[in-house]
Symmetry: C2
Subunit: 315 residues, 2 copies
């Protein structure tokens, strides 16, 4: 027996509607895959404004700038434990390594519309899930940390396998981070400093953001317990801004405390041999851009003077 | 019978030596995988200088700026024919889509050091092999081209699966392109204009570059014939600059004529229904950066005044 199709819902999806508006305005360029879009020059001007504003906020901190392509080594990815907590979001890279005969077989499979993945092998690299992941093995590889610990500034495209019509949930998006690795005291100072900075930042951007305790989207039932533990210990705070929903606002900036998690993995050591703590502040650049377009309109030339001054100060 | 190991060659590999110099100077940050590196702030300042210089060269052309993350839809990738010509360079993305039981099996396979790729499925996306690939379906999706054709400015990280110790052969690197789609006449004018521009550019950068007919690295025996055809028709020119080898200089800029190849695939149509021609000029940003460091030294502050003026003109 075949059931009749469910009638299409009449409740409009505000996330889908906002995406369509962004596409109609030419700010996002659709590709045919949900969560993968091109960006226009105007969209990118806001991205650059946000990136530069974060740089100015952190000016004088003396962070070491590192810029990685959005790939991580497979070895570092496995060591990070990401596949334990977030297997559903990961993206690994596979490549064809065969000879000409195998090439013909792969092309024939593609022509027949078959799965052709058996003609590929796992490559040495995976897509970066968060901008800070490449830096821990780099810092660990330098030996013991200096007395003052380490402070690193990273910016990269990141991948999360979560096809969605919500433009705030892209499969590939940019994350700007500052990462502090050092004593519990160093990290506490970093968290306190950035907590104040990000609250001031969203206020100057005239965005209705609120700071709240949060948790990562850990996978499965065990993940639920991890998420609860993370909340109980107040390890993660997020600046939540309504973008496509008032009741379910979007996390646009996060402030994360890893305690000694990454120190144990790599391993990182303080000058005195102790395990370092670490913390990072992460700006979701596309989400902040979409929040600005939502709250101030699609034409940055008409945005409030204070917002424009924060993003594009006069030289 | 076991043969004795071949004695290590005593000829130093100049590409490996240059990579080690770049790492020692802190310009490149090693990850443990050949061809995947972080970049320092100084490295990135040259990247930005080159990117801005290309923008100034093309100022007034009226190109539409599109910026894509370094992913392409799987569908567009297959349609492009890339897997026919360059299967060995491609990188596709795979993701875990299972339940908790499958998650446990995947983690167990990883713990045992086994291949765990059977726990993943092909995702809808692949890594971008060249910056211009995402734009053809976008332009085709708009319908017939306007009378003047199209001109697009793209910039993205690109992936090629070719692990190498040569720093000029990275697995992930940036490519800035301008792409012209239009009549044979439009494309001829574009090629002539950019031929002059890129020759002037390398001269102002004081790099020993020469323009030469070239071919793409097509795969296998059939690919050899395709490469010969490409050379015979003079479809590809490259600016070759010695970086890690005098006898085997590096292609740092390429000027490519696709005739109607991409028009046939998508399909693209001129206002009068004819198949458009297309051409692109592609700047290998990392390769140009490495050529500048090779020829002018690791400290841009000491580079010739004309080179500095080209990259960082006074406002």
């Amino acid at each position: 027996m075949t059931l009749p199709p469910v009638s299409a819902t009449t409740t409009p999806d505000p996330a889908l509607a906002y995406r369509d508006d962004l596409i109609a305005a030419g700010l996002l360029i659709p590709t045919g895959v949900d969560g993968l879009y091109g960006r226009s020059a105007l969209f990118e001007s806001v991205v650059t404004g946000l990136d530069d504003a974060v740089t100015r906020m952190a000016a004088g901190d003396g962070a070491e700038v590192m810029r990685f392509p959005p790939l991580l080594t497979r070895e570092a990815f496995i060591a990070s434990g990401y596949l334990k907590g977030f297997p559903h979001l990961a993206g690994t890279v596979h490549s064809f390594c065969g000879n000409e005969a195998e090439h013909h077989r792969m092309l024939a499979a593609i022509d027949r519309g078959e799965d052709w993945s058996q003609h590929e092998r796992p490559a040495d690299v995976v897509l970066t899930p968060a901008a800070c992941y490449p830096i821990y093995p780099v810092i660990a590889g330098r030996g013991k940390l200096p007395d003052q610990g380490a402070l690193v500034d990273v910016f990269s495209y990141c991948f999360r396998h979560e096809p969605s019509v919500d433009p705030c949930r892209m499969q590939m998006f940019r994350m700007r981070e500052n990462v502090r690795i050092g004593s519990a005291g160093h990290v506490q100072t970093f968290r306190d400093t950035w907590r104040g900075r990000i609250l001031g930042f969203v206020e100057r951007l005239a965005l209705p953001g609120a700071l709240d305790v949060a948790n990562d989207p850990f996978f499965g039932r065990a993940g639920k317990l991890m998420a609860e533990g993370q909340r109980d210990q107040q390890l993660k705070f997020e600046i939540l801004i309504p973008v496509t929903s008032e009741s379910n606002p979007t996390a646009c900036i996060s402030l994360n405390y890893h305690i000694t998690h990454f120190g144990e993995i790599w391993p990182l050591r303080m000058a005195d041999g102790e395990l370092p703590h670490s913390s990072c502040v992460a700006f979701g650049i596309e989400r902040l851009t979409l929040a600005l377009f939502r709250h101030h309109g699609f034409d940055p030339a008409t945005w409030p003077a204070g917002v424009r001054a924060e993003l594009w100060p006069s030289p």
